[in-house]
Amino acid sequence: MNNTHFDEAWNDIKETWNGSARAEEINLEVSVLIAELKSKVSPFEKQSIKDDIELIKRNTSQFEKDSIDRDLQLISKSLKKFMELFKK
């Protein structure tokens, strides 16, 4: 394919791309949309966060869980010792 043909073909691709959203008209009902976004976005976000937490929970290995448990135990032990020393 020579340069002229290549450019022509590429212009055709650009036309096709630009025309892709023309088949549909998007109309906004402003007051309805704003009211919906105000009321819907928060619960939707909560659900989305819940889904993400579930995903993380499923993908956290037992090794990581045990490791966190051990760290927590160590922190509480050290904190206890510190508090006892502080009381004296």
Partner: protein, 170 residues
């Protein structure tokens, strides 16, 4: 006149809705729906507009949000059917028949774009949107030179794919 955040938001959507729609349509391979993706992008812009600091051009930021939402939806959908938001305030009306020769051409173009690697896919969509290399580079996190090199490589690849599909009468 002082423009409220809500007025600003609506104006942004009005101005940029066609470009958002093009990106969403390109990512809307079954079971994803372009209208659902469009609504997700509208929601994301609503949520994130306050955090837009104007470091990049607004139009560039919109592309980044749209690509992120579509990319995320594309990958989440592979895991399981995710909950999607539905907005009554956004109405879609068909203004020309879907089965036109242009629509067939578009389906072939989309299929060939979908076959590209993820980064190349974003780059070529943004290039088709006529964004300067620098802005494309800001969005995908590569240098402008790298974008130029990649575009030069992607264009013939895409064209070859389209010609071969058109030749097969797909």
């Amino acid at each position: 006149m002082i423009e409220t955040e809500e007025e600003k938001f609506i104006q942004i959507i009005q101005v940029h809705k066609a470009k958002i729609a093009r990106i969403c349509k390109a990512y809307a391979i079954q079971p994803l729906d372009p209208q659902d993706l469009f609504q997700e992008v509208v929601c994301e812009i609503w949520k994130s507009l306050a955090s837009f600091k104007g470091k990049s051009e607004l139009g560039t930021w919109i592309y980044r949000v749209a690509l992120n939402v579509c990319y995320r939806a594309h990958h989440k959908n592979k895991i399981k059917n995710q909950q999607t938001i539905h907005l009554e305030g956004v109405k879609f009306e068909i203004s020309s028949p879907q089965e036109s020769p242009d629509e067939m051409k578009y389906l072939i173009l989309r299929e060939c774009i979908t076959k590209l690697e993820e980064v190349d896919r974003s780059i070529i969509m943004l290039y088709l949107e006529e964004l300067p290399y620098k802005n494309i580079a800001d969005i995908v996190g590569l240098s402008a030179n790298n974008i130029a090199v990649r575009v030069k490589r992607i264009k013939p690849k895409l064209l070859e794919c389209i010609v071969s599909k058109q030749g097969k009468g797909e």
